[in-house]
């Protein structure tokens, strides 16, 4: 009942009516770009503070509470500090690549959030390969890490970058395969259609066992993709240096730092969209009254709520588990997750074929 396609269409028409065609299109692009940059910035602000507060509550302490009530302006203060920091100049292996590397991760992250459906019709880029596109963009982010580590002219940064790169490209496999498992029920890669297909049940309920297994594998592989604990060996403080971003300070470090949080948001958003129904309210096949009540809550709230739940889960992992060593990490992926994933896809294919899912 909340349909934003009309509103978006209306804005588009108004733009086209007040200025020539080309200009209207370009202005439309700029507007969307500005909105997404704002989302990016707000996400960074909120997530960093949330991480610190949640960590504090897990650790029986208070967290930031001086700057603003409940420390809500803490991230703003951090951002100002990072911007004013002196860029420490040492001899770089390659200045051009050193400066270029953070942009890879930022652009990858921004392109990924552009295909997320926030509500019906509220989507920047509703392409028919939506999910595939998101995965491709995260592959491009790997490049930024490799280049950043190498261009820093630092043995430890290079070590960290290579390991990080190897870890990310290994776990991309698991991420893709676990998503594929659930797409078998949707029948399309288009994000809006994936959400629409969950109108009667969310996929995690619809696909019962294979979907739950896929969800668990996706959460593990997603945490590894974003280089978070228990898979953050490359950035660990008690290891050698701070990984690939050892030599970055100031604004460029802010880019790497922010993009880690936005990547976490992206993984959570993919999980929320594909497994938990995106902006679709909680519906159960036959209960019409219940469904109607659920529909009153705006879809954006549903989406953000689910994403918040997933983010909380990822943060919970971070403060509860120690780190895996790099060889244990790789062993986990190649010897356990990948075979499990493949078997799960077979299982799901069988389930879909036989129609043994809810609401078939």
């Amino acid at each position: 009942m909340y349909d934003f396609t009309g509103m978006i269409q209306g804005i588009n028409n108004w733009l086209h009516s007040v200025m020539p065609d080309m200009a209207a299109t370009v202005v439309g692009w700029v507007l969307i770009g500005a909105i997404y940059l704002a989302i990016f910035a707000v996400l960074g602000l909120v997530l960093v503070l949330a991480e610190r507060k949640i960590a504090a509550f897990f650790q029986l302490r208070l967290g930031p509470n001086r700057i603003g009530p409940w420390g809500i302006f803490q991230t703003v203060a951090d951002a100002i500090k990072l911007l004013l920091k002196e860029p420490v100049g040492t001899k770089r292996a390659d200045s051009f690549l050193y400066n270029l590397a953070p942009y890879f991760v930022i652009i990858g992250a921004l392109m990924s959030i552009s295909v997320l459906p926030f509500a019906k019709g509220l989507q920047a880029f509703d392409i028919d390969i939506g999910l595939f596109f998101m995965l491709a963009m995260s592959s491009i982010g790997v490049m930024g890490i490799l280049l950043g580590g190498w261009a820093s002219n630092n043995k430890y940064a290079l070590l960290g970058a290579m390991r990080s790169g190897a870890q990310m490209i290994s776990y991309e496999l698991s991420v893709g395969l676990s998503l594929l498992t659930v797409i078998l029920m949707a029948g399309s890669l288009q994000m809006s259609e994936i959400v629409e297909a969950q109108r009667d049940y969310w996929f995690i309920f619809k696909g019962h066992i294979p979907a739950v297994i896929a969800f668990m594998i996706f959460t593990i592989a997603g945490t590894a993709e974003t280089n978070r604990t228990p898979f953050d060996l490359t950035e660990a403080e008690s290891e050698l240096g701070a990984g690939f971003h050892t030599e970055y300070s100031g604004l460029k470090f802010a880019f790497f730092f922010l993009s880690e949080f936005v990547n976490m948001f992206i993984i959570s958003a993919i999980a929320a969209t594909v497994f938990l129904g995106g902006w679709m309210p909680l519906h159960f096949g036959g209960l019409e009254g219940f469904n109607h009540v659920m529909d009153y809550i705006p879809p954006v709230i549903w989406f953000l709520g689910k994403v918040a739940f997933m983010i909380f889960l990822l943060m919970w992992f971070r403060w509860t588990f120690p780190r895996l060593r790099i060889d244990q990490l790789m062993k986990l992926e190649w010897k356990y997750l990948l075979p499990l994933n493949l078997m799960n896809i077979l299982l799901m294919a069988f389930v879909v074929l036989m129609g043994w899912y809810l609401g078939s």
Binding site: Q59, P230, L233, E237, S238, E239, T320, R323, R325, Q328
Partner: protein, 367 residues
């Protein structure tokens, strides 16, 4: 693909090491082929300083050898001086000393939790244990006036008697700590990733144990039931009832289990001490502290700290200043020479964990 050996330097400033020391690692790929420790960043020349101060002034230096657990140092030094002079310590003072030692042991073990878990990436445990350690430091503050360096146990007894209601406070803190132990189990010891990181890592062979003179939890983690508190009882340990835990795996996990059990035993000991403590004097008063001389002689006093056996060897030449004070610390062997042997063949990610498990205390190594 054979990778050529590179040299990596861990320290002296490093978030994964307690204290300042450097470990030079020669690595091939991820595996360490040779390790060399370099110490000296924290040398404060305490043993030489002790020769320039009189007996009572020296006792203020002795606690500063080791930060997490200063009380065994004070106690060991005091007992050595009492042995040379033949000074008798009152019963009540002995019980209070045991209580202080065990409280310090608990504090040190809580800090060990933080280091061991923190080096594997589990920082939450560190935040919890440091918070709980504060309650013990509060007890210290109320009894001695200081939180870390107490300067409380001196030759002849202890300096102050219990304030009003202190025994109840101690028992309450012990109850609180026992309640927290379940949480630590859930988060740290039953955590399968922690187990995976620590099992089979940092193995100390029996040959190394004999050659290097290994003591403490490292020894007990290898299956040898040896503890100065029962081998050579001092203070009132022969009157108390406690268990000495041993494990046989001789890796980080075994040592972690040993230390986990020791924490529980310490709580048990403190409860017994509070129950059995007699009334009486707490100090066998030294006649004139500034002009106090001790007959010539020497003595060795051995104490079991949370890292292992420490010993104070004190030599007196009849004057009012010590002729020689020497500390034989557990960390000197474990974290300097044993570490170089144990690190060979290990992964560089495990260096910090191994150092924490062997009980690295850089201040104690270098005095």
């Amino acid at each position: 693909m054979r990778e050529k050996a590179t040299t990596l330097y861990l320290g002296p400033q490093h978030p994964g090491i307690t204290g300042n020391m450097m470990v030079r690692l020669k690595v091939e790929g991820d595996t360490i082929v040779k390790a060399t420790t370099e110490v000296g960043y924290l040398h404060r020349a305490f043993e030489k300083l002790a020769e320039k101060r009189n007996w009572l002034q020296t006792f203020t230096l002795m606690c500063r050898f080791c930060v997490p657990e200063p009380d065994p140092m004070e106690e060991s030094y005091s007992r050595a001086v009492e042995a040379i002079e033949g000074r008798i310590v009152p019963e009540r003072a002995k019980y209070i000393r045991v209580m202080m030692l065990e409280l310090a042991r608990i504090g040190s073990l809580l800090l060990w939790h933080a280091g061991q878990a923190g080096s594997t990436g589990l920082y939450t445990v560190g935040q919890w244990t440091v918070g709980d350690r504060n309650y013990i430091l509060d007890l210290f503050e109320e009894l001695t006036g200081a939180r870390i360096y107490h300067m409380y146990i001196w030759p002849g007894g202890v300096r102050r008697d219990f304030p009003e209601g202190f025994a109840d406070k101690v028992l309450k803190t012990m109850d609180y700590l026992e309640g927290r132990l379940k949480d630590y189990d859930n988060l740290m010891f039953e955590n399968s990733i922690f187990q995976k990181r620590t099992q089979g890592v940092g193995y100390v062979s029996p040959k190394q144990i004999i050659e290097r003179g290994v003591v403490g939890p490292v020894l007990r983690g290898a299956g040898i039931r040896s503890d100065i508190r029962i081998d050579d009882p001092y203070e009132v340990y022969d009157k108390l009832d406690f268990k000495i835990p041993t494990e046989t795996s001789s890796d980080i996990w075994g040592r972690a289990l040993v230390r986990r059990e020791e924490l529980r035993q310490s709580i048990r000991i403190i409860r017994q001490v509070i129950e059995k403590m007699p009334e009486g004097a707490i100090y066998n008063k030294v006649p004139n502290p500034q002009k106090w001389t001790i007959p010539p002689g020497d003595a060795l006093a051995r104490t079991e700290s949370s890292r292992g056996e420490i010993g104070f060897y004190v030599v007196s030449d009849g004057s009012n200043k010590p002729r020689r004070v020497h500390l034989r610390g557990a960390a000197y062997v474990h974290a300097m020479t044993l570490l170089e042997d144990v690190l060979v063949g290990q992964n560089i990610s495990d260096v910090s964990t191994i150092m924490n498990s062997l009980g690295t205390c850089a201040p104690e190594i270098e005095r």
